[in-house]
């Protein structure tokens, strides 16, 4: 099970925290894009990119250890790429004992490359969210032409997510405290259906409550003059200095990409 904890932006007030969120969003996406375009097996470039992320973390006064530790959450997904090791072409490095599957060198390189690239990408995303509040990201998204309705829906979701998550946690505790089938007991078909029924009803009740709440919220919106169109204060002008700062990591990463494509 992947355990992830919701990351809040750190309290520090660094150059990265102050950078325009639109710039940060685009820089993070560009870094991920460049990482994705890196050729397989360019380990020198991967290490340089990793160093770039760590440098950003230090500038933002976010613990590099935390960034790395949190990025490791992608590892379970690597299973999808592990097959490459045994299905890749020659040359083979060795054969696995017992099964005798051959370990393909290009397959291994490819697999490790995917995992490295994935780790670097998620580190870029972590740095984004560790230096930018989600509400700031929301206005950045809408001023970057993501449809306003979608951004408004996401904003509502963010607002009520924790409320409903608390509700779900309460329901879950209530279920466990009077559950006829203890959590660790062996699962039979009958108990499986029983468990699914309990959980399914909880989900149903969450949805019913969400519907009812949305009606009340809608009334509250109408009372304050809502007419159906999302509205917000115009975002401030993009400052050229912020764009220049944002260009630095992108240019470094892009030159790394250029170098590793040439070599």
């Amino acid at each position: 099970m992947i355990q992830l904890q919701h990351l809040n932006p750190t309290e520090a007030d660094t150059a990265l925290h102050r950078l325009d969120p639109r710039v940060k969003l685009i820089v993070a996406l560009s870094l991920i894009l460049i990482t994705g375009l890196m050729p397989s097996g360019a380990f020198g470039a991967y290490i340089a990119l990793f160093a770039l992320m760590m440098a950003e973390a230090i500038i933002a006064r976010v613990s590099p250890v935390l960034v790395v530790a949190r990025s490791l959450a992608v590892l379970p997904f690597s299973l999808a790429a592990v097959t490459l090791i045994f299905t890749g072409p020659e040359p083979y490095l060795a054969a696995l004992p017992v099964t005798g599957w051959p370990i393909s060198e290009p397959g291994l390189v490819q697999c490790v490359s995917i995992v490295f690239k994935s780790l670097i990408s998620v580190q870029a995303a972590i740095l984004l969210i560790a230096t930018t509040h989600f509400t700031t990201l929301l206005w950045a998204m809408s001023s970057l032409r993501i449809p306003g309705v979608l951004v408004a829906i996401i904003s509502f979701m963010y607002r009520y997510l924790f409320l409903l998550a608390d509700e779900a946690a309460r329901l879950s505790r209530a279920r466990d405290s009077r559950s006829a089938v203890p959590a660790g007991s062996p699962v039979t078909a009958r108990s499986l259906i029983f468990r699914a029924r309990t959980t399914g009803r909880m989900i149903g009740s969450l949805l019913v409550r969400a519907f009812e709440r949305s009606e009340r919220v809608y009334n509250a919106m109408l009372s304050r003059g809502y007419t159906g169109a999302p509205m917000q204060i115009d975002p401030p002008q993009l400052c050229p200095r912020d764009v220049l700062i944002g260009l630095i990591p992108v240019l470094i990463a892009a030159s790394l990409l250029a170098i590793s494509l040439i070599i």
């Binding site: 607002r159 509250a220 009372s223 304050r224 204060i233």
Partner: protein
């Protein structure tokens, strides 16, 4: 004349057939403070939703500040009547405090500077001036209730309509909220079960029971009429 509410022979039937209000008449004068009391399900909330046109009468009429509640007047009336809902989590639907307080002024198409000025003033009025950038979810219930009031104050309402303002608050938060409401000189109509709040703050009481107005009179008279209170499931403070 902006500060009055006139409800004449209001009857409201829900689409399912339930009659929530039957022949309700009520008038609130300028700067008057009226408490609306009565058991759950008596129709208090339904009545309040009529005061800014979210619900429309099945029969009868609602007039606010001399204007009948119709589609043509709805924008004006919603700016005049500040409706504060019982659960602040319904009222505060933006992640950030600032955006919620700015919601009303933005929808009144005010210029940005004026919106910011009003947000500051409204948060200041409820003693939450340092919380503009806070996340509503992280506030205490008492703080949320204050911000909820600020979200309508920023629209400069002539009339405040509050649903259960003190429900769920601990004694200290309750007292400070009562002091806040007391400091506001506005026409005020408040639905509540809190009879001590009624005694402290309101000059007039309207009892709503079983979809009808059961009594309407000065607070002193109503609260001293034990038989009347008992008949409608209420208790003297």
């Amino acid at each position: 004349m902006h500060h009055t509410i006139e409800v004449e022979n209001l009857t409201y039937t829900y689409p399912g057939g339930h009659q929530a209000l039957i022949d309700v008449s009520l008038s609130v004068g300028p700067d008057e403070r009226v408490a609306l009391v009565g058991p759950n399900g008596a129709g208090k909330s339904t009545l309040m939703l009529h005061l800014n046109g979210i619900y429309r009468p099945t029969s009868g009429q609602v007039t606010v500040g001399g204007l009948p509640v119709t589609d043509d007047n709805i924008g004006q009336i919603r700016a005049w009547v500040g409706l504060v809902f019982q659960n602040p989590d319904d009222q505060l639907f933006n992640p950030r405090v600032f955006d919620d307080v700015a919601f009303g002024p933005l929808h009144m198409a005010l210029p940005e500077e004026e919106v910011r000025r009003r947000v500051d003033a409204a948060l200041d009025a409820v003693g939450m001036q340092d919380y503009a950038d806070h996340i509503s979810h992280h506030l205490s219930l008492g703080q949320k209730k204050r911000v909820a009031i600020a979200t309508v104050l920023s629209m400069h309402p002539k009339i405040l309509v509050l649903d259960e303002p003190t429900a769920g608050l601990d004694p200290r938060a309750r007292r400070s909220l009562i002091n806040l409401l007391d400091s506001m000189e506005r026409t005020m109509l408040t639905a509540t079960h809190d009879m001590r709040l009624v005694a402290d703050l309101f000059t007039r009481v309207v009892i709503l029971d079983n979809s009808r107005v059961a009594a309407d009179g000065p607070t002193g008279d109503i609260l001293s009429d034990g038989a009347l209170l008992t008949e409608h499931g209420l208790e003297a403070p």
